[in-house]
């Protein structure tokens, strides 16, 4: 490791290295060795403010759809475990609520975005819930909390 560090530091720039570990933070990812695989989840700094456009912004309405579809897809692409995906989706949803968005407005967009993210082929992995299965009843709003079964089969 020393030889590698010295070699890189001879490149004309000063490099700093983290200690070797089973878990690392890199960009927006938390990477962890579990067994023989590296599993990933999203990482945000503890003081991240999660600032999004407020609902009274004069942006075109499509910007909100784009924000939700983009972030939901990103969450599905970058998290390995279904539990992490659910956690991040809840966090994102509640951040939007905190910014003043109404649940009845963003709930349908979230559901469409989740459908979109789970049905389309994902970059870097397959559907974490199994082929054709999408998560349902995220506890994102009152009308979605008591659906009985936590999964539903996506229609072919």
């Amino acid at each position: 490791l020393k030889a590698f560090q010295v070699c890189l530091n001879n490149s004309g720039l000063l490099w700093t290295f983290s200690d070797r570990a089973n878990e690392e933070i890199f960009w927006d990812l938390r990477l962890k060795i579990e067994g023989r695989k590296v599993v990933t989840s999203l990482y945000a700094k503890p003081l991240a403010l999660h600032l999004y456009l407020p609902p009274h912004s004069c942006h075109a309405p499509g910007v909100l759809s784009g924000l939700i579809f983009g972030n939901v897809l990103c969450i599905h692409q970058l998290c390995s475990a279904a539990a992490d995906i659910k956690k991040e989706l809840k966090l994102f949803f509640h951040c939007l609520l905190d910014h003043g968005y109404q649940p009845q407005k963003i709930n349908p967009l979230f559901q469409q975005a989740i459908d979109n993210a789970t049905v389309k082929p994902l970059v870097g992995g397959s559907n974490p819930y199994g082929a054709g299965v999408i998560p349902h009843g995220w506890g994102l709003g009152p009308h979605m909390s008591n659906q009985g079964t936590p999964w539903r089969r996506f229609p072919a």
């Binding site: 490791l1 590698f4 070699c7 890189l8 001879n10 490149s11 004309g12 720039l13 000063l14 490099w15 700093t16 290295f17 983290s18 200690d19 070797r20 570990a21 089973n22 878990e23 690392e24 933070i25 890199f26 960009w27 927006d28 990812l29 990477l31 060795i33 023989r36 695989k37 590296v38 990933t40 692409q77 970058l78 390995s80 970059v123 870097g124 992995g125």
Partner: protein, 161 residues
């Protein structure tokens, strides 16, 4: 300049496009028991980059016939443009006009590409030999790098990790 250099940079062995690409690579990988993760980054990359050294390294790389043929670039004109960009940065602070004499101005559009290529050329020659014997996986984007290190499978070391 940026558009031409991006063709070259995106083709480099250790180039990493985004987190999704990294996850895609890692999903396909099965690690040996002696693997551990590490990250590395540069201290103050843009101001620390030696302009003359950067131009010299880029010249050596871009002027090689293999590179100019592969990417269809005119290396002499491109290098002249890079030199023009790197040696002619002026900034105004109030009524003081200053000329940058070292480093790369962070605000110019080809700055990330130039920095990326500066590191990538060095990595091609000196860092790639570490792969895959002691480094199983290594990716770098500008000043951030991520790698999987294969440590000595000494039982005591393994307990410590």
């Amino acid at each position: 300049v940026d558009a031409l250099l991006q063709l070259v940079v995106k083709d480099q062995a250790l180039y990493l496009k985004n987190s999704a690409e990294l996850k895609g690579d890692l999903d396909e990988m099965t690690l040996p028991a002696n693997a551990s993760l590490f990250t590395y980054n540069v201290v103050a990359m843009y101001p620390s980059l030696n302009t003359a050294q950067c131009l010299e390294r880029l010249s050596g790389f871009l002027l090689s016939p293999d590179i100019s043929q592969r990417y269809g670039i005119g290396p002499k004109a491109l290098l002249k443009a890079i030199k023009l960009i790197m040696y002619n940065n002026r900034m105004r602070f109030g009524n003081v006009l200053v000329k940058r004499i070292s480093g790369i101005a962070m605000g110019i559009s080809p700055a990330p590409t130039l920095a990326n290529l500066f590191v990538a050329i060095y990595e091609d020659e000196h860092i790639l030999p570490f792969i895959p014997t002691v480094v199983k996986y290594l990716r770098c984007f500008i000043n951030d790098g991520f790698g999987i290190w294969l440590y000595d499978p000494d039982p005591l070391l393994m307990i410590a990790i």
